[in-house]
Symmetry: C2
Subunit: 216 residues, 2 copies
């Protein structure tokens, strides 16, 4: 049913939603593809294509889309209305920050617990989330039928932990480590690789600095 919608489209949806909330706050009852595109530095074409492919709600020629209906439609489309449980593996600095990140609820994600090997934090709570020993990971995931894991362990443990997660029945791994993990193809992986992101930003910066030099 969504197999033909590109992942790029999914990537833009939360941005549309955020913009729509702002428009709603400003009292706009309708929005056009041009307005959405301008707010997000996109083209009207891509906005129209995304919305027409993905959503139940139709726009009206000359009027645009009804703001609140579009908000509801995209929220539904993204599954923000029914929370999905997740576990977080590796409660170090980054893991703790993510445990305390309040935005996830808005995005339909509920972290039920963190797992770690450090006895100093096991048994306690961080930002209200219980920290359990890694040994209990598989049992908890199986019992609760959890499909999503956030991976924030040190890079050298990433693959071993991914294997364990796979065995436990996890079907989506949000990988915040710098390691590339190998998983069976019935598991989705999304890499949040800081080093890669920074490399791209640096390249863009170098390009800009070069241009400035030329112009001086």
């Amino acid at each position: 049913m969504n197999g033909d919608i590109s992942l790029q489209t999914f990537h833009r949806m939360p941005q549309y939603l955020k913009t729509l909330y702002e428009f709603k706050k400003e009292g706009r009852e309708n929005v056009s593809s041009v307005q959405l595109a301008e707010a997000l530095d996109l083209t009207p074409s891509i906005v129209k294509k995304d919305l027409s492919q993905a959503k139940i709600q139709d726009g009206k020629p000359k009027v645009g889309y009804a703001t609140v209906d579009l908000i509801e439609g995209i929220s539904e489309f993204l599954g923000y209305n029914n929370l999905k449980d997740a576990v977080l593996v590796g409660a170090g600095k980054l893991g703790q920050a993510l445990l305390g990140y309040e935005g996830f609820g808005d995005y339909g994600l509920n972290i039920v617990a963190g797992f770690d090997i450090d006895d100093g934090i096991i048994g306690g709570k961080i930002h209200g989330k219980p920290i359990l020993p890694t040994g209990k990971l598989q049992g908890a995931v199986e019992k609760l039928g959890i499909k999503i894991a956030i991976l924030t362990v040190p890079a050298e443990h990433a693959q071993a932990m991914a294997d364990l997660l796979a065995k436990a029945g996890i079907r989506a791994i949000w990988n915040f480590t710098t390691a590339h993990i190998q998983v069976p193809d019935n598991i989705a992986v999304r890499n949040e690789n800081m080093a890669s992101s920074l490399a791209v930003l640096s390249a863009q910066l170098a390009e800009i600095m070069k241009k400035e030099e030329i112009c001086n």
Copy 2:
């Protein structure tokens, strides 16, 4: 000079580097595009293209690339050898986690200070980095000639802060907020949007769960 190298190539470079370090540790003196591709789930074609476009060091037919030379070449290419200073704006939970992230040094990035408006943390240090009032941001950036900023303020302040950063002479913004920021086109922006990433992962998960359903 690098204007014709795609940003995708830059994105893959740190992954090559990481893999090469592992290969080196295993004692491999040479690596082929096939080996690199296998380790990272890429095709040999893209590896060869990336390396030939970006790098000074040539591979040898039948042998491959010299591991240590390739490491050196990519490190140089990515600018890991000369640290670039950066400021971090917004020392909340995520900001603090990034202030404490030790990996940045390896990637050529040095965070010199964090900025915030909270008197409770201003004047102190977090993970060894001084926290200064936002009012001192512009002066510090100008004086030190800093070009890179990490943006971790609440979304509603993102645009105002981006404007301030632009005025101060920042040329690259690593945006960790969910807000889309508008900047002049002599400033590079890299968005690290959790909501967008999660949307993509959820879509992939939904696809997988659908397949499993069909097969049962």
